[in-house]
Every structure is written in structure tokens, then in C-alpha cells.
């Protein structure tokens, strides 16, 4: 097989070709490595997807299930001896002494570490404009954002600079960039994938997941990610194997459309593509009905209390003592802490630390954090009620298509609205996938499909049936 042909393959097809002996894992790795290195060397003149690219080809893993197919990994996963700084200046030069459990798991299954990907600093952002490594550009239109926070992973996969990638999702950070870049992204049930070695943002929400060219790749990668890890007390044994999705029809599948997430605030072109996808689902035999998520409009408010509160606590560890940056010539210990954190954190991270510290401070805890935790209970109840009536819930993934670089940076509340449709599922801990469902003004629109906890197979099957029938063509974004 020619290298050009090999680059067109999905990761699953490449693994099959390697197993069949028609493709060399080394050649595939080299081809992706030189493409990724070219983008890295171009800096912000390129897409700026990568923070690190492998400089040698790892030992071939032809026999392993993933066959040595290269994998791009978001910067915030610790990788032993490989720079891991979560997009932040405060971890400049940090080389972790260990590797994140999920990355080890994938390596043991035969994935080869190709590159680390750019991201919003500490995964805080929806546009990948908050990175110490500079902004990432959207391969569909380089004047636009790729979404965030896993923007480098999404842009790399969309542009064909990596066959697939790992991201993390706290309030939408896999699904929203997948939507804006026209690829597949999935956030699994909270606890499915070990968080050990992920540089933490908001621990009760953070989950790793796949960003891929198609649904079968997402299932394949996720299948090798899930499982209990003694190093993460919140990780769980996934109750069954992740299957290779194969459904061609949606006969009898009940899809619920929540009014609260499919009306006001969603761009007209996004709604058009969403409704066209619903019509397609109906043709495949799905039963579409309205469903209520009465507290979903409050999810964003609850999220922007809970996530910053947890972040303010998690980020307390960055104090200039054990790793990363330290401010020069500190007067005393407190001066070292406060100036190191001033110099090392970017504007958005400072904002969230301040917000979280405020929400947790004496006199405000009950009004903010306490109330937000109660809203979270109501949102989880809404989903339980809805899933008694329908099998899956469908919404647009993001309220808009990819927006212009710089368009929303001066208005944090407007930026936060990007997560409007994805945050409710995060707060409820349930699985949700985004698949490309069409174009609006030449830019991709994402469709989100969510199901009850541990219904990943059902979600993937429905996503696969719709993907096959919609026939979205993402090849125009390849570089």
C-alpha cells in the first residue's frame, strides 16, 4: 500500500492492514511523524496542533491489537520523560516521572505515541486561544477557532495530521472541538477511564475520551481505554466490552429531543443541520419525541461554580516548589507562591481560580457551591426521568459553528455559552458522543447523542447508523 493511501485510512483500517501485512507500522508512523513535525515547525503559521512530536519511530507493535497505529495525546496527560505542561507556562519544561494510566493502557494495546497536542491552559477554554503554546487554527478555515479545550487533538485529526487522538472533556472539551472540526468525539460515563496521570482541572467532571475520524475508531480506542485502575479511586470496572458498532437501522430506537437545548440560543444554520439529521434518523426507523430537561438551562451556571471551585483547589499545587516555574528572587515563601502563580498562569486560569476561590470562601459557600451541587442533583434527576421515556437524547453539540479567532475572548460569559448543550451531560456523568451531521456556511455542525450511564454501546451504535446514512465528508479539511 502506498503511504498516500495509508494516510487516508481510518485508524481501525490501518490496524487491520498492519495485521494483514499489507501496511508497515513503521512507514505509517514515519509518514504521520513528518506531517506532524512540519506543522510543529510552522508554529502559528501552521495549525499549531502539537506541543511535542516524537523524534524517532518506536519499536514496531504489529502483533498488538492496535498494531502500532500512531496516537496523538493531549498535552495534559503525563507521559514519562516527554514534556507535559497542560498548555501552561507554569509547567514549562516539566518532564513527568510517570505515564498516565490510560496512555499506558493504550501503549500496551499497541498504540504508538506520535505527538502531544496543544490545548487550552489546564483545559479551561472553548476556543484553544488560552494556551501558552499559542492558538490552534481550525483546518476548515484558518481564521477560525478549532474549539477547546482539546483543540489541538481535534484539529490534528480533522487535518489528517494524526489518525486519532486522546482528549479530555470536563464540560464539553472533547465534544465541542470535535463538532467545530467535523470529526467524532466521545465523552464516556464518568469513572470509565482512569484519571491517574491526567493533570487535573475539575476532578468530579474530568474524563478522557477519543477524538477520531469515524465512529468505529471511537469505539475501538475507547474499548482499550476503559477499566478500573487502583490508582484512581473514582474509576470503575466497565460492566461489559465496548463492541464494534454495526447497526444500519434505528428501528424502534426512541430518540428524545429536549426543547431546552434545541431552541433559543442555537444558531439557525446549526438547527437546520440538526433537524435534517433528525429527519434522517426517522427514515432509519427511529421514533422521535420531545422530552423535558427542565433544569438544563441552569446547568451552565452550576458548572461555572463547580468547575472553577474544584480547579481552584486542584491548581493550589502549582506553587513553585516541586516542579515547573519559580518566580525569580523571591523575598520570602509567600512572595514566591504569589508571584510564581502570577507569572505562570494565563488570564483565563487566573479568572477561574479567583471565581472558584470566591465561591468556596467563607460566607459564600452555601449560596454558590452548595446550591450548584443541588442543581446538579436536579439535572441528574431530569435525565433519569427522560431516560424512562426515551433510549437516547439528541441535541446540537455546540450552539454555533466555529467562530473567528478573537471574536469571544473579551467576553467570558459569551465564551462560556459554547458549553450550553454539553455541560448538562457532564454534570450528570453520562456518556455522550458528537458526530458531524452537516455543514452550515461551509463549516461543520455536530450532533450530540447521549445515553444513560454505561450505555456507550447503544450510543455508539446509533451514532454509527446515523454516520453511515448521513455520509458526511470531512476530507476537505485534510492538509
Amino acid at each position: 500500500m502506498s503511504v498516500a493511501d495509508a494516510l487516508e485510512l481510518t485508524a481501525a483500517a490501518a490496524a487491520d492492514a498492519i495485521a494483514a501485512g499489507s501496511l508497515s507500522a513503521d512507514e505509517l508512523f514515519d509518514a504521520y511523524r513528518s506531517r506532524a513535525a512540519a506543522d510543529r515547525d510552522a508554529g502559528e503559521d501552521g495549525l499549531n496542533c502539537f506541543t511535542w512530536v516524537a523524534d524517532e519511530t518506536p519499536a514496531a507493535a504489529n502483533a498488538a491489537p492496535l498494531g502500532g497505529v500512531p496516537l496523538a495525546v493531549k498535552d495534559l496527560f503525563c507521559t514519562e520523560g516527554v514534556p507535559s505542561q497542560s498548555g501552561s507556562k507554569i509547567l514549562e519544561g516539566y518532564l513527568p516521572p510517570y505515564t498516565a494510566s490510560v496512555v499506558r493502557r493504550l501503549r500496551d494495546a499497541g498504540a504508538s505515541l506520535l505527538a502531544k497536542t496543544n490545548q487550552d491552559e489546564f483545559a479551561m477554554g472553548s476556543s484553544n486561544e488560552n494556551s501558552a503554546y499559542g492558538v490552534v487554527r481550525n483546518p476548515w478555515d484558518r481564521e477560525r477557532v478549532p474549539g477547546g479545550s482539546s483543540g489541538g487533538s481535534a484539529a490534528a485529526v480533522a487535518a489528517g495530521l494524526a489518525p486519532w487522538a486522546l482528549g479530555t472533556d470536563t464540560g464539553g472539551s472533547i465534544r465541542q472541538p470535535a463538532a467545530l472540526c467535523g470529526i467524532v468525539g466521545m465523552k464516556p460515563t464518568y469513572g470509565s477511564v482512569s484519571r491517574y496521570g491526567m493533570i487535573a482541572f475539575a476532578s468530579s467532571l474530568d474524563q478522557a475520551g477519543p477524538l477520531t475520524r469515524d465512529v468505529r475508531d471511537a469505539a475501538l480506542l475507547l474499548g482499550h481505554m476503559v477499566g478500573h485502575d487502583p490508582c484512581d479511586a473514582t474509576s470503575l470496572s466497565f460492566p461489559h466490552a465496548i463492541e464494534r458498532p454495526s447497526a444500519e437501522r434505528l428501528d424502534g430506537v426512541r430518540l428524545g429531543v429536549p426543547d431546552e437545548l434545541t431552541g433559543e440560543g442555537i444558531e439557525a444554520g446549526v438547527l437546520d443541520a440538526f433537524r435534517a439529521a433528525l429527519a434522517q434518523a426517522e427514515q432509519l426507523g427511529a421514533q422521535i419525541s420531545e422530552v423535558r430537561l427542565p433544569h438544563a438551562p441552569h446547568a451552565l451556571s452550576a458548572y461555572y461554580v463547580i468547575a472553577p471551585a474544584e480547579a481552584s483547589s486542584n491548581l493550589a499545587r502549582f506553587d513553585g516548589v516541586r516542579y515547573g516555574l519559580r518566580a525569580a528572587d523571591p523575598r520570602d515563601l509567600l512572595d514566591m507562591y504569589t508571584r510564581t502563580r502570577h507569572d505562570g498562569f494565563g488570564a483565563e486560569v487566573k479568572r477561574r481560580i479567583m471565581l472558584g476561590t470566591y465561591a468556596l470562601s467563607s460566607g459564600y459557600y452555601d449560596a454558590y457551591y452548595g446550591r450548584a451541587q443541588r442543581v446538579r442533583t436536579k439535572i441528574a434527576e431530569d435525565f433519569r426521568t427522560a431516560f424512562a421515556q426515551v433510549d437516547l437524547i439528541v441535541t446540537p453539540t455546540a450552539p454555533t459553528v466555529a467562530f473567528k479567532l478573537g471574536e469571544k475572548t473579551a467576553d467570558p460569559p459569551a465564551m462560556y455559552l459554547n458549553d450550553f448543550c454539553t455541560v448538562p451531560m457532564s454534570l450528570a456523568g453520562i456518556p455522550a458522543i458528537s458526530i458531524p451531521c452537516g455543514l452550515s456556511a461551509g463549516l461543520p455542525v455536530g450532533l450530540q447523542i447521549a445515553g444513560p450511564a454505561f450505555s456507550e454501546n447503544r450510543v455508539l451504535d446509533a451514532a454509527y447508523a446515523l454516520e453511515q446514512s448521513l455520509g458526511f465528508d470531512g476530507s476537505t479539511a485534510r492538509v
Binding site: 479511586a233 506553587d319 515563601l333 502570577h342 476561590t357 443541588r374 442543581v375 454534570l427
Partner: protein, 98 residues
């Protein structure tokens, strides 16, 4: 709900709690941005949440305990390798009070 107003003093108080130095020109924008975001999140104050239990973790995890057996940890030199300053096999920091 009335607009939340976070003033300069409150910003400086929270920054002290967060161990975060702010430059003079960061204080005013921070006050405005925090006020704007808090106005948005204050909408949860409109909900009737009496008697609703808080959720901290959505997935019920029980029995997370393992036997307490000593195991090797990171070697000292590996743990210290990334530190900005090291002395006498430990992390070197300035005195608490100059």
C-alpha cells in the same frame, strides 16, 4: 436579581486567599469579569432547592479501600529532578519570613 458588584478590596481579598499576586492593571478587569460571571451564575439562586440533597459525585463508588501495604515510592532523586531548587536532598524554598 441585582447585578453582583465585586470591588477592588474583594478582588484583593480573594487573590490573597488564592495565593495569587495581581498586577495593578489586572485588578479592575478582574473585578468587572468576576461580577459579570457571578451575575450569570447567580441565576441558580432563582431555583427552589429546599430539601434537595447535593451531588458531589455522580457515580456511586463504594469500597474503594485497599490493603494498607508498604510499597516503594518514587526514588528521591526522581522526585527532586523537576524541582526549581534543591538542597540537602530536599526542596529548597525561601524562608517563610524574610
Amino acid at each position: 436579581m441585582r447585578a453582583t458588584v465585586i470591588g477592588r478590596d474583594e478582588v484583593l481579598h480573594v487573590a490573597r486567599l488564592a495565593r495569587l499576586a495581581l498586577a495593578e492593571d489586572e485588578i479592575e478587569p478582574m473585578a468587572l469579569e468576576l461580577s459579570a460571571v457571578l451575575d450569570h451564575v447567580a441565576r441558580i439562586g432563582e431555583l427552589d432547592l429546599d430539601g434537595v440533597a447535593p451531588t458531589s459525585h455522580v457515580v456511586d463508588v463504594t469500597g474503594g479501600l485497599r490493603p494498607d501495604e508498604p510499597r516503594p515510592c518514587l526514588p528521591r532523586e526522581v522526585a527532586l529532578a523537576q524541582a526549581p531548587a534543591v538542597a540537602d536532598d530536599g526542596f529548597l524554598v525561601p524562608s517563610p519570613q524574610a
